[in-house]
């Protein structure tokens, strides 16, 4: 069965844009609701509790109930807050997460814009969202938020570089920045061909979307709630939404870049995409349920001393292969890449452990 959508579907250019935009927004929003539900239920399972199970079957309607509750809350703006920024920041944070979705192919042809600089676009837009979070941190005039905002910027600057370098490996391997080309090149998912790049990208994405172990920006045990301490009502809801739509986009990016996006047998592409995306999020939840939080200097050290050299090395071996052995058979290249990655990661982990022992003592 051919599930692909022809590029000129359903005919008119503008009509197509509008329909796909609506589909994308619906996809992100429904995924956010499912992510919230999953997060609460899965974390509850990990912690041997039940989680929300009253609103709807299996508590599926909990997110709706929370939304209704949050809409009825008083909307407080602190007296000393920067009013304009305080209002604008949640929107600045939220909109870019939707914008990233524009270049992600949910299905063969179901892509709002197949930019030929897709990777660059993603790297650029994902930084804007962090600025929104930073602004929401400083606008509220709260010291906890301020510390959270500073951490957010530090984290953004540090982890953006390894993330982009990991993507550069993909770009070199398939010779294009367009996401549809990258997906096309993944008859074998890139997680097998570039496992090192995958690990780097995964860690960087965790930091970008502020998930454990990099949830320093919120750090509820240190900063009460970090950047959104002063927010309430609908503005808080928007920040909450940002957090989860970032998680959706993060999972979607990992799916699109490394797990073959919509490619898969039998089932329609969008279903494959959704399944892979949820699997990635499940992994993120698993980390959240078990890992402690890193300290800010440790997080920086991981980015600059750990991930940056690793991503350079990844770029180096990928370029080497692309230039000198472009037609390497898969049965050689996949095991070779995996073995190299495992060895390098173990060596690097040992190095980082030494680092930790010398820096803490």
């Amino acid at each position: 069965m051919d599930w692909s959508i022809s590029p000129d579907w359903p005919g008119n250019f503008w009509l197509r844009l509008i329909i796909i935009a609506v589909i994308l927004i619906a996809f992100v929003m429904s995924s956010v609701i499912m992510f919230i539900w999953m997060e609460r239920r899965v974390i509850a399972r990990i912690q041997s509790r039940l989680g929300p199970n009253r609103a709807g079957p299996f508590g599926l309607l909990q997110a709706f109930a929370d939304t209704i509750k949050i809409l009825t809350k008083e909307d407080i703006v602190p007296t000393l807050a920067d009013k304009v920024l305080f209002w604008a920041a949640p929107a600045i944070a939220f909109v870019p997460t939707l914008m990233i979705m524009a270049v992600i192919p949910l299905m063969n042809g179901l892509q709002l814009a197949d930019l030929n600089v897709g990777v660059l676009y993603i790297a650029a837009i994902s930084a804007v969202s962090a600025i929104g979070i930073f602004l929401s941190g400083i606008a509220g005039n709260n010291k906890y938020s301020l510390v959270g905002a500073i951490r957010e910027i530090a984290q953004l600057i540090s982890f953006e570089i390894p993330m982009v370098l990991a993507l550069a490996g993909l770009v070199i391997a398939c010779g294009s920045m367009s996401l549809s080309k990258i997906v096309e090149a993944q008859s074998i998912p890139f997680i097998l061909l570039q496992p090192l790049g995958f690990v780097i990208f995964m860690v960087a994405i965790l930091a970008e979307i502020n998930r454990t172990p990099f949830d320093l920006v919120e750090a509820d045990s240190e900063l009460t709630c970090g950047f959104n301490t002063e927010y309430s009502g609908m503005k808080f809801a928007l920040l909450y939404l940002t957090e989860y739509s970032e998680a959706v986009v993060g999972s979607a990016l990992i799916t699109a870049f490394f797990l073959g996006a919509w490619r898969g047998p039998i089932l329609p592409g969008i279903l494959w995409f959704t399944i892979k995306m949820f699997a990635v999020f499940m992994f993120i939840l698993w980390l959240r349920g078990t890992l402690p939080r890193l300290r800010i200097d440790q997080s920086m050290r991981l980015a600059w001393k750990g991930l940056l050299p690793l991503s350079m090395f990844n770029l180096f071996i990928v370029s080497l292969q692309t230039v000198f052995f472009p037609d390497l058979a898969l049965w050689i290249s996949i095991p070779a890449y995996i073995i190299i990655s495992v060895i390098i990661i173990i060596l690097w982990a040992m190095f980082m452990r030494k680092e930790r022992q010398s820096s803490n003592a």
Partner: protein
Amino acid sequence: MALPTEPFILNIGPLHPSTHGVFRMRVTLDGEIIQDVEPVFGYLHRGLEKLCEKYTYKQNIPLTDRLDYVSAINNNWPYVMAVEQLGGIVVPQRAEYLRVIMGELQRIASHLLAVGSLMNDMGIFYTAFMYMFREREKIIDLLEMVSGQRLLYNYMRFGGVSMDIPTEFLPALARFLKVMPGFLDEYDSMLTGNEILLSRTKGIGVMSSEMAINASASGPMLRGSGVKWDLRKDAAYSVYDKFEFDIPIGQNGDCYDRYRVRMEEMRQSLRIIHQAVEQMPAGKEKLPVPLRLRPAKGEVYTQIEAPRGTLGCYLVSDGTEKPYRCHFRAPALINLTVLRNLLIGQKLADAIIIFGSIDISMGEVDR
């Protein structure tokens, strides 16, 4: 180019997720680095010691429960011992063993809470906390079986304990003793080797043994710094001299050692309970004591090894039926005095962990 910077003051608490009650730290921060700390407490002050002078000796027992509400049974103990020594009251052997069993169960419960909330401070989103609460719940069920209550047990009496154990207690305790080591292994496998946990706790909040002694720290704080001092061995009270157990100590005195000491102490407590159940004689759980107790004139100081350290009770009697003065040496308060020395120069995130590893209970600090 160096930008001009200035430190800013951050109030952590009194209402904050990781101040374990209502404690407040007025922290002067330079970026993330702590320059100065001013601990502020007293928000939970209830005048317990003064209240003790108003009530009769027996009425004071429930008040002592409220000192350190996470280990209520251990708080009854020094007070009851003090009154017994003043009044020359004999405690039957069975009661002593019951006290030891309940005290050690309470110690495990308290350490579970301490380690669980330390992990929470570290950012494991409630997983370790919920796991440890699962086992704490089992202990609370056992104590409820014995005393009828779940948090403030009001268990000890002069000359014994409030009531003997029901028949189903010992089988339930045996079941608990059988499963608990497995759960402790589970925590170890989840936490102890975790690289992030190691990097967050090793070498953080180092307290040298000299500093610990000078600050008269006690309990896991002291033993984590490598000082082998445990009142259960060094000044054995009750029937602790009849049991065989080790005193775990740390080497570096950092947060990791304090965590390890607590984990290890739980295993040792299980050992003690095992032996106590085996050795426990039959007999009365309580000897009759006059209702209007009037101990002889005099003063006495008793101390026990509570989960948080040396818990002492200084009692002065003027021969009436109310104590003249009752003072408690609260280990949490005295352990807290090193907080400022430990925090200066550390990062904000470490401050929370160091504070968590001291394991205070505000009811005891503020009294």
